[in-house]
Amino acid sequence: MSPQSQRFPVSSRVLHWLMAVLVLAMLFIGVGMAASESARYSTLVAIHKPLGIAILILVVIRIVNRLIHRPPPLPADMPGIQRFAAHASHIMLYALMFLMPIIGWSMLSAAGYPIVLFGPLHLPPILTQNATVYAALRQLHTILAYLLFATFLLHFAAALFHGLIRRDGVLQSMASWRSGR
């Protein structure tokens, strides 16, 4: 097996790390703005909306990239339960990264807010205004944000487990940038 095939392709690694930073920033901004009764609130909101749309665009690119470039296989000696956890958590991460911006956009639509990105740049509403739908989506946005953060933590701890304890190359397949290895 060639060494290259043991690593994620460059496009996958770039998308992974870029989105890792953006999604984590988004989670902190989101939880922070929901608990900021201050001038900071509107600053965070003004970042949250365009950042969410940027993540939505990136996750679509990433799903296409994932379909083109299959990830390297997991180590053959990985226990079945760990394999299952790895696959399930990846599906969960993809699903939440896609759903969270869609729910955010939908909920602002249902609330009748203009969806402002920058200055006069607006997005159209994707739902008609509806109080009950708004309230439900707003709550779902929070619940799924916690679920996304919990899944991220699991993913992060699992990556460290691969890197520090199993030392099976799984972490390096995403984290290594040395050429030719």
Binding site: S38, A39, R40, Y113, R138, A157, D168
Partner: protein, 378 residues
């Protein structure tokens, strides 16, 4: 010799049980550390941090819980009409609504405070909230009140005053000692209240002038940014409030919606109008502190006229599901360093989320569709 890391089983075996445990601890500590940072950002580690949840809870403690109603400015009615811009404000702001022409407006006229069934009193602070809906969707929302300055420089002071004015269970009145302690700590509040007390109180909603109080910035097409405040100046003749409306002899039969009914009757006869007046600040004018008035000689620009030709109950009107969030601003209007609009935006969002979730259990508003229709015909 393995050529990649995945076959490094030899090095894996060299980890002792102690080393594995140590590394597990490291992983646990790092993951917990990230979780703790997240909890800190969310305010869970700072029980004294002023959050949306705490400030809205304070409204509930002060005014009671009224499901489905706004937590502040709870008693109100909807209003619709238009804004006819004369184009003069376009020199200050590139916002589409300031180009000459007509823009539809959805508004709400209300009393400040969190009690949706409080009897109408001219002394209660009144509000006019407007949503300007220009073609193209670059809308503007603003909420104004009929006092000349805002009594609080910070949301913290606003919150402290709410806590201090919470009625003492023994007397049913705020504890004077707490109110005095608050005033002693907030000279800006005392100074602002002095100005507020000197205002002329109008008899109704239609002859009141409503002020933005907060400072925003208008940005024109050349990129020039000007600090501004604005007012909706009534075009109805001013009639001073009778000094003791609420002390009328037969208080029991007095119309609890007297001011709203007067407005409904007025609008049924003829539209009511306000001039939208923009006050341009100068260098050195206080922008971050809404308790301080600007000098009276500041340049004022008449931007056009707001006309309300229809009012309706919240229960079937177009304003009930609108959050008059003061940070919904078109390109050409921006926030200033005034901290209050952002705090209002945060608190309104919380109030909006709560009440939208309670819409199905919301009781009828004080001013019902039947009342609007019968008063309008009389």
């Amino acid at each position: 010799m393995p050529d990649n890391a995945r076959d490094s089983t030899d090095s894996r075996r060299t980890l002792s049980m102690t080393a594995v445990l140590m590394r597990l601890v490291v992983i646990g500590v790092v993951a917990l550390g990230v979780a703790a940072l997240f909890a800190y950002a969310g305010g869970w580690l700072s029980p004294h941090r002023l959050t949306q949840a705490r400030i809205i809870a304070a409204f509930g403690q002060l005014d009671g819980i009224h499901p489905g109603f706004r937590r502040n400015h709870a008693k109100g009615i909807c209003a619709t009409g238009w804004f006819e811009s004369n184009g003069q404000a376009a020199s200050l702001s590139k916002a589409a609504l300031f180009a000459p022409g007509k823009v539809p407006v959805v508004g709400r006229i209300a009393f400040a405070g969190g009690m949706p069934f409080i009897p109408d009193e001219p002394d209660t602070v009144r509000s006019l909230a407007l949503r300007f809906l220009p073609a193209g969707g670059d809308e503007w929302r603003t909420g104004m009140i009929n006092i000349p300055v805002f009594p609080f420089a910070t949301v913290q002071a606003f919150y402290e005053q709410m806590v201090a004015s919470k009625p003492d269970p023994a007397t049913g009145q705020p504890d004077p000692a707490k109110m005095q302690a608050f005033a002693a700590n907030h000279p800006e509040f005392v100074a602002a209240i002095d100005i507020v007390k000197k205002r002329l109180v109008s008899s109704g909603f239609a002859d009141a002038t409503y002020n933005s109080l907060n400072t925003f910035r208008f940005v024109n097409s050349d990129g020039v940014s000007t600090p501004v405040r604005w007012s909706a100046v009534s075009l109805q003749p001013f009639v001073a409030a009778a000094t003791a409306v609420h002390a009328s002899a037969d208080g029991a039969s007095a119309d609890k919606n007297a001011l709203f009914d007067a407005l409904i009757a007025d609008v049924a006869k003829h539209p009511v109008q306000w001039r939208l007046v923009i006050t341009a600040g100068q260098a050195g004018d206080p922008t971050a502190n809404p308790t301080l008035p600007w000098p009276a000689d500041r340049k004022q620009i008449d931007a056009g006229t707001v006309t309300i030709d229809k009012v309706s109950s919240e229960d079937d009107g177009p304003c009930v599901d609108v959050n008059f969030d003061p940070m919904v601003l078109p390109a050409g209007i921006e926030a200033s360093d005034d901290p209050i609009p952002s705090a209002r935006s945060a608190a309104y969002a919380r109030s909006f989320t709560l009440r939208e979730g309670e819409r199905k259990v919301k009781p009828p508003s004080a001013v019902t569709p039947q009342e609007v229709s019968s008063v309008g015909k009389s």
